[in-house]
Symmetry: C2
Subunit: 264 residues, 2 copies
């Protein structure tokens, strides 16, 4: 039986400690290929590169004998380049991360790490994004690596429901306090922005985005609850963004009968 | 009664014909403020700017007497800057577009136009993104403008279900053939990438992303069906990405009992 082909990517860039930890954790589970951005791309969401061409550079020395490539593109570009231009086939598994910082709750939508996994899902690849709730470059990825290996093995064995992927977040916690994995839903939350205004040496204003995370619910079936209570959260994610629960109410607006020319 | 405050943004940049058409269509419905990127930002998805500071420049002459600002940020940055730094309050309505090109089906996830509307939704603002299925700069926005005005009036009057926003796409069609609005769900589809390899004057390879849209279903309740049959599609969109239908199946994996240290 041939070994599964595993595509590994991230958004913190190919030199980030988190992707190295992920590779170490899973490299014997299949034939691993690394395709990652050549620089940090946090917060890139599902951006793709349309107006510029992309570069791809082999970096085969970086991870022992693993084929590795850095690209000038976004995390989503990396997945597209990997499938169409580097692997010339769909990998059997896509693993993204390990991200330096939480991608739980609403963060999933801003995250390049998770967008790479979403793109894998769109391509029909069983895909998982991993994130450690610790932004430090020197964060300890030990527990996260163990979680990543366990989840990767399970997904290789069982597959995922079509149209879905996994968002796995690992708490910043002493491993002795770790309570295990917990299937969860995305907690309702938002960032409350607070731009910091500064002035450049020429007197012109510029703004740094800062913000505070606002958790909008405390329910025990959410990823935020899991992480705050010693669990790693496992959220199934989908890319059908239709708010199905709103369809009926909208149909009640009678739009089909509106006269567009004169408004309502 | 004070007039509603309407925030207008887009992803094609503040000088795009599409945003001008949108402004003309809705400017008498409230107090409009324009905050848009200073250059095209198509395909930016839900990207935000973390590693660089942002610039904001008043452009009050662009649209008659309307306050207008261009920013160096992404469409999502524009919404955040508008709420926190420019308006200092939540607008009553956010309108994004009119995009030059379709944001129906899977395009919703790559679209800066729609991500601005999604960000509005996250902030609790009734939000709508409008897109015309015509990529031409000189596209005719007449019908789209009429649709935008009609939908904007309805949303001002009725509001939207919390946690949802609208993705409105208008077909490229002679207005005499237009059949009206149709509430729809996001059609299953993907882009099949095909990178075009070229070489720079120094002999080094670079890649242009090209692709073909692959529609994966023909159902009549989808946005693609509506657009291909003379309707403008209206899809309610949500930013809870949890694949709720997959929760039960994942719970059946027994993850809570896995021994992480030794894998499964």
């Amino acid at each position: 039986m041939s070994k599964p082909l595993i595509l590994i990517c991230n958004d913190d860039g190919i030199t980030a400690p988190g992707i190295r930890a992920l590779i170490q954790a899973v490299r014997d589970l299949g034939d691993c290929v690394v395709v990652a951005p050549d620089r940090p791309q946090s917060g890139m969401g599902h951006a793709i590169t349309i107006g510029h061409p992309l570069r791809v550079q082999a970096q085969h020395g970086l991870f022992g004998d693993l084929p590795a490539y850095q690209t000038s593109g976004t995390p989503v570009d990396c997945v597209k380049l990997a499938v169409d231009q580097i692997l010339h086939r769909k990998p059997d598994l896509l693993l993204s991360g390990i991200n330096h910082g939480s991608n739980a709750s609403i963060n999933v939508i801003y995250s390049g790490t998770m967008s790479a996994a979403v793109e894998g899902g769109i391509e029909g690849i069983p895909s998982v994004g991993f994130s450690l709730c610790d932004y430090a470059l020197e964060a300890d990825f030990g527990l996260s690596a163990d979680v990543a290996r366990t989840v990767a093995k399970a997904v290789l064995e069982r597959g995922l429901m079509p149209g879905t992927l996994l968002n796995v977040n690992i708490p910043k916690i002493d491993p002795s306090q770790f309570r295990g994995l917990r299937v969860s839903r995305q907690a309702a939350a938002k960032w409350k922005e607070n731009f910091e205004e500064r002035h450049d040496p020429h007197g012109k204003a510029y703004y740094w985005m800062t913000g505070e995370f606002e958790l909008l619910e405390q329910a025990e079936d959410t990823d935020e609850w899991a992480l705050r209570n010693g669990y790693a959260s496992v959220v199934p994610v989908q890319f059908d963004l239709t708010a199905h629960r709103a369809l009926l109410s909208l149909q009640g607006w009678g739009m089909q009968d509106w006269n567009i020319e004169n408004g309502i």
